[in-house]
Symmetry: C2
Subunit: 330 residues, 2 copies
């Protein structure tokens, strides 16, 4: 164990794109666990778009304080323990933050050592749970329906689309490159993929979804949301998972002009936060692991090495450089 | 019976405000019912914002054809019948259109002669059903919650707000004049009313709804929708009943910039069309008539005399001249 704890902290709140000067690095003494606490050595970090929001302002969680480590999910091992629930050597997932060592009294999930860390942080982590509960609880797919996914080559979108396939839906993905589209149709089993950077998206969705869109699983927001609403089928649902096109905007763009379609189509648009579903994680992970074992659910990871590269890893989400789940290996 | 049928027909589709030249009047021979049909003499017309949409383009129903009578609900008496379900003398409600006489084979609802026509066309008509099913089925109020209603002095809004009161909610109305606001708090039992034309609406909603808005029953859309979303409570719902602020716009205005609130607040926005609920009309009318009889549900009507004044009656909805249900007495 190092005697110092290297951390990436919040230097200032981002305005627009997350610039390097939003971050600082420091080394502080490794914290000592108090009675009932455990010390976790962090091995992996989960890099998620929501971190951008936490850096900037209060959302469903209070904003990160200036000078504090960047809030983030992370995977690590318990190396000191005064808590029988988490003995030394246990692999755990929790809100470790961007640092080498983190102290917890509660709020940790035990991760089986048989699960590779890349899977624990993606398909079996909050990413997989987000896709699972967002699609099934909010979207409520019925076999034969058409599901459109934005950010489809991203961590959450790719899993949501594959679950929709498993549930018997026709699945169309929107992604930002030919390579991503090829991965969606060739590897992830999507029925069709649309490169929104070169295709006439409105027309392409119409061609790929001739009976309209029963569920739009949206990770992107903005123009794509408006276009998808224009194709909503009767009683269509918009699962509002994220709006990554908006997170770097100083002032959010105008909303969809065609919200009135929700009236004539009897549509539903609904947001959710995966934290509300953590108590049901076991149910989701049980199903997800069966599908992975059966070869019906592929997942892709985008691994960045080194804690000091966590800011660059975060920006990969906003430039669309990633296919699959971005994570940092310490 | 007149030998001719006076009609108000669609001369051209409206662009922007519904101008006089969108309408024409003509007199055609009174139709003769075919086998199985009945002839209805129309006595009252239901004037609803949705007629503006039917005149302009396909919505949840096909657009009205040029030269056809304006589509509209209406109340009348069967004066010739070859259908045992509707004997001569029966009072019926159906899509009569803006004309003196209309022929039906089906699609009529029998109205008890004990119900005054003003009540049959408002609180016990599609207006009351819209308020009832929109609030209860889509909004799902829970006692103690806060319900905000736009267009609250309108036909649907005033009934929706009163049902919310009956269900134990705190109810706040948005309306466009001091007189309407006074009617809401003094007669309709709303807890508070906000004159959106003079108040700082954002601040006034915040003051009237200190714990946020659990249900926003929206008849108006546009800026008011964005402002209300900004006050949404955790797991808040937006019942998309109408968007009258948008119906006269040539190009719909931008949607709410703050739709992302639906994610962080786990919010739901859902549209509906009352036609889907007509099979459950009996359930609603049973409850509504109990509340009216108990004096817990007040309704107000805005009666315009003369078929030729139907276009002017329609425009009262868009100028906000009305308090309560607009109808035409022939």
């Amino acid at each position: 164990m190092d005697s110092m704890n290297h951390r990436i902290t919040l230097a200032k709140r981002p305005v627009g794109e997350v610039a390097d000067d939003c971050f600082a690095a420091d080394d502080v003494p490794v914290p000592s666990p108090e009675p009932g606490e455990v010390l976790v050595e962090v091995a992996w970090l989960s890099i998620d778009p929501t971190i951008r929001g936490w850096m900037a302002y209060d959302t469903y969680l209070p904003a990160i304080e200036i000078g504090a480590p960047i809030r983030s999910g992370g995977l690590g091992k318990v190396i000191e323990s005064d808590n029988d629930a988490y003995p030394v050597g246990t692999t755990v997932f929790g809100m470790t933050g961007w640092q080498q060592y983190s102290v917890f009294k509660s709020g940790l999930q035990v991760v089986s050592d048989r699960v590779p860390p890349e899977a624990a942080l993606s398909v079996f982590g909050t990413t997989g749970l987000t896709a699972y509960f967002g699609l099934l609880d909010i979207g409520r797919p019925v076999a034969g329906e058409t599901v459109l996914v934005s950010g489809a080559a991203g961590a959450t979108g790719s899993i949501a689309g594959q679950i929709a396939k498993i549930k018997g839906c026709r699945v169309v993905g929107l992604a930002g490159s030919a390579e991503k589209c090829a991965w969606l149709t060739d590897e992830a089993g999507f029925d069709a993929a649309i490169n929104y950077k070169i295709d006439n998206v409105r027309r392409a969705i119409g061609q790929a979804c001739p009976d309209g869109v029963d569920i739009f699983f949206d990770n992107v927001g903005g123009d794509i949301l408006e276009t998808a609403i224009g194709h909503l089928a009767l009683r269509g649902r918009v699962v509002m998972c994220g709006a990554i096109s908006q997170y770097n905007e100083e002032v959010p763009g105008p909303g969809p002009r065609n919200l009135g379609m929700l009236i004539s189509k009897r549509g539903r648009m609904e947001g959710f936060i995966v934290l509300d579903y953590l108590r049901r994680a076991g149910e989701a992970i049980g199903e997800l692991s069966g599908w992975v074992a059966d070869g019906r659910l592929a997942y892709k990871t985008d691994v960045v090495d080194g804690l000091d590269n966590a800011p660059a890893a975060l920006n990969r989400l906003f430039t669309g450089a990633n296919t699959g789940k971005v994570m940092v290996r310490l």
